[in-house]
């Protein structure tokens, strides 16, 4: 034990492998856990009865949904078909309304597209409002994201009840009343900050020819299905999935590598977990190498320590130490080194992970508790493994020869 302290630098260098191995894994795991937790906590605000139907560019299976023009495939026919399914309470649609700019007072600034949603109360849950509340379907009203509201207001958010102008690409101006401003959003919902929400009625007019009825009908970029009973969510999701993939207008409007995604909030978090699990596996492989190097380092330093203390070991045997006393002495020391390495690694990994979380996602840090326990275990295990051979060698020392050494 004491020799650990008398050779501080040596011990520190030795445990570097363990520190790096455990630190890198923990950093990634912290990142993953925090991201996942931030997503999950956002979904808590959503109705857990939701099933999301959207289009995704198939080339980026784990990327964010792409509601661009490739995704404008969910027709009013599809929406009604889903609404008629058993277990489904209601189907909410959303789409983009292209505009050229936004006007407030004398000021007019360029703006690309509005988000048209129906039943705003469901999507824009009440607690997400910084001020005001939802708009009414059919009214000339809007809800502003935090950033938009602030930018329009020139530093302070636009007041509730004030009027803003929507400049259409053809030059026409439409005036709406602001009924609410959203609170600053975090993580995956951050994009809401830059949105201007308007009711589908009367703002959304994008039409497409339905492959099934040959009529011009409204077409949306995403649908949100509300299931009546939360316990049915998975079942309903499977039914929706089957319908969407085989019989829907959307399946016939698909182009290129775009694919239809039918997901519950749980599916989304599962996907994020899977993505992070992949990264973790990759980093884990590197960590294993690092731990191996660390173990060899510890073993080496312990062998040196055994050699240096040959005489001391001889003395201990002469004054009554059994082999197992000698063995556990060195095993204990090695385990301690491993433990120290893992603790330092945990500190470094958590610190680094937390910094990355702050920097990348701007969400709160979630501690991966299970991984902390695993890390401590790995440190102890690596130490024990590395200490085995040196400890064995220590027990094999002949006390007579050891005592004869000067």
């Amino acid at each position: 034990m004491r020799s650990l302290w008398t050779h501080k630098t040596r011990s520190l260098l030795t445990i570097l492998g363990v520190v790096i191995g455990i630190g890198s894994v923990l950093a990634v795991v912290t990142l993953g856990a925090s991201f996942e937790e931030s997503v999950v906590s956002q979904f808590d605000a959503f109705d857990q009865r939701s099933v999301f139907v959207m289009a995704n560019d198939g080339s980026t299976p784990h990327g964010p949904p792409d509601p661009g023009q490739f995704g404008l495939i969910f027709t009013e026919i599809d929406r009604q078909a889903l609404a008629a399914m058993s277990g489904v309470e209601r189907v909410l649609a959303e789409g983009k309304v292209p505009v050229a700019g936004l006007a407030y007072g004398e000021m007019e600034s360029p703006y690309k597209e509005l988000s048209a949603v129906d039943l705003a109360a469901q999507v824009l849950a009440a607690e997400r409002f910084a001020s005001g509340g939802v708009f009414m379907s059919g009214e000339e009203e809007a809800v502003l994201g935090a950033t938009v509201a602030e930018r329009l207001g020139g530093g302070t958010a636009v007041e509730i009840g004030s009027e803003i102008g929507l400049r259409y690409p053809d030059g026409t101006l439409r005036t709406v009343t602001v009924t609410g401003v959203l609170a600053d959003q975090e993580g995956v919902f951050e994009e809401a900050d830059g949105q201007v929400y308007v009711p589908l009625e009367p703002f959304y007019t994008t039409m497409r020819k339905s492959p099934s009825t040959a009529e011009e009908v409204r077409v949306y970029s995403a649908l949100t299905v509300l299931v009546g009973d939360p316990r049915d969510v998975v079942q309903v999701r499977d039914r929706i999935e089957a319908h969407m993939q085989d019989e829907s207008d959307a399946s016939r409007l698909l182009v290129g590598s775009t694919e239809i995604l039918v997901m519950t909030p749980g599916d989304i978090t599962d996907q994020i977990s899977a993505a992070f699990a992949q990264i973790t596996t990759f980093i884990g492989a590197i960590a294993v190498v690092s731990l191996l190097v660390g173990a060899i380092g510890i073993a080496n330093i312990m062998l040196v320590s055994v050699a240096e203390r040959t005489r001391e070991i001889g003395v201990m045997k002469a004054i009554g130490a059994l082999d197992r006393d000698v063995r556990s002495l060195f095993l204990f020391e090695a385990v301690l080194v491993g433990l120290l390495g893992s603790l330092l690694g945990i500190g470094l990994g958590l610190g680094g992970g937390a910094m990355l979380v702050r920097f990348l996602f701007e969400t709160t840090v979630t501690l991966p508790w299970d991984w902390l326990v695993v890390s401590v275990g790995v440190g102890v295990f690596v130490g024990g493994l590395a200490g085995y051979l040196p400890a064995r060698r220590a027990t094999k020392i002949d006390p007579v020869l050891a005592l004869a050494r000067e």
Binding site: M316, A318, I319, G320, D323, D398, L403
Partner: protein
């Protein structure tokens, strides 16, 4: 009962292809409570004999009985246990653990024997007091004089209250005044009923024992008492300058002291 008894003890070291016979058919018998000094020229095998008796080493032939217990069939652990419980070692170069304080050094054997920390500390303190080092408890070995170090080593040897103390040239590194102090300490332990076997080159120190055994070329050549009275002579092919008697036969012959000196 004999504290130490060896039967035809032999030890041959093997260095490379060469066999180096060091001890030959040593029959050593140390009664309980005896204080025996082993003397002999350098290389005659005294340390080797002491190591065999203390179960630090294994004989090539023959066996050792400690406190009546045959140790021949013991495995490494059994020998370590017997050593721990029956023998206390004292060395010429003290062999204290340098990083540990005097107190911790004395506590160490008790840790191996599973004595509780509290008891270890109390006993170690009492032992250090017994050897007159109450004020050096916290000192590290390099902060102690040779005599003090040896007294710590003796306290450590006594830690588990072993019946037998084996000391290999305990005064070899000490001046004559300190040597006498250590021997006085040994005499006291002897007086308390402990069995002591010491190796020494110093006739004066040897005579603190109640018996002196002379060893030459790996054989016991004679035993004498403090006054020089020869109690037992073992003639050998190599060392037969003393009176010749049959092997193992007891002969009370007064010898000139010079004649048996190494």
């Amino acid at each position: 009962m004999l504290a130490v008894q060896t039967r035809r003890l032999g030890k041959t070291f093997r260095t490379g292809d060469l066999d180096v016979p060091v001890l030959h058919e040593v029959d050593l018998a140390v009664p309980r409570g005896a204080f025996v000094s082993l003397m002999g020229p350098s290389g005659s095998g005294k340390s080797t004999l002491l190591h065999l008796v203390g179960l630090l080493d294994t004989p090539t032939v023959g066996g050792v009985r400690l406190m009546g217990r045959d140790t021949r069939r013991l495995d490494a652990d059994g020998r370590a246990r017997a050593r721990r419980d029956l023998v206390g070692f004292v060395f010429q170069s003290f062999h204290l653990v340098p990083s540990a304080s005097a107190l911790e050094n004395v506590m160490l054997p008790m840790a191996f024997a599973g004595v509780s920390r509290h008891k270890r500390k109390k006993r170690a303190e009492a032992l250090l007091e017994e050897v007159g080092l109450t004020d050096r408890v916290k000192h590290k070995p390099n902060e102690l004089s040779g005599g003090q170090k040896q007294r710590v080593a003796i306290a450590r040897a006594l830690a588990l209250d072993p019946p037998i103390i084996l000391a290999d040239e305990p005064t070899g590194n000490l001046d004559s005044k300190t040597s006498r102090e250590v021997m006085t300490l040994f005499s006291r332990l002897h007086g308390e009923g402990r069995t002591i076997v010491q190796v020494t080159h110093d006739e004066e120190m040897a005579r603190y024992g109640d018996r002196i055994i002379d060893i030459r070329d790996g054989r016991i050549v004679q035993e004498r008492d403090r006054t020089g009275l020869v109690r037992r002579v073992r003639p050998t092919a190599e060392a037969t300058d003393g009176p010749t008697t049959a092997l193992g036969q007891v002969a009370d012959v007064r010898l000139k002291r010079e004649g048996v000196r190494p």
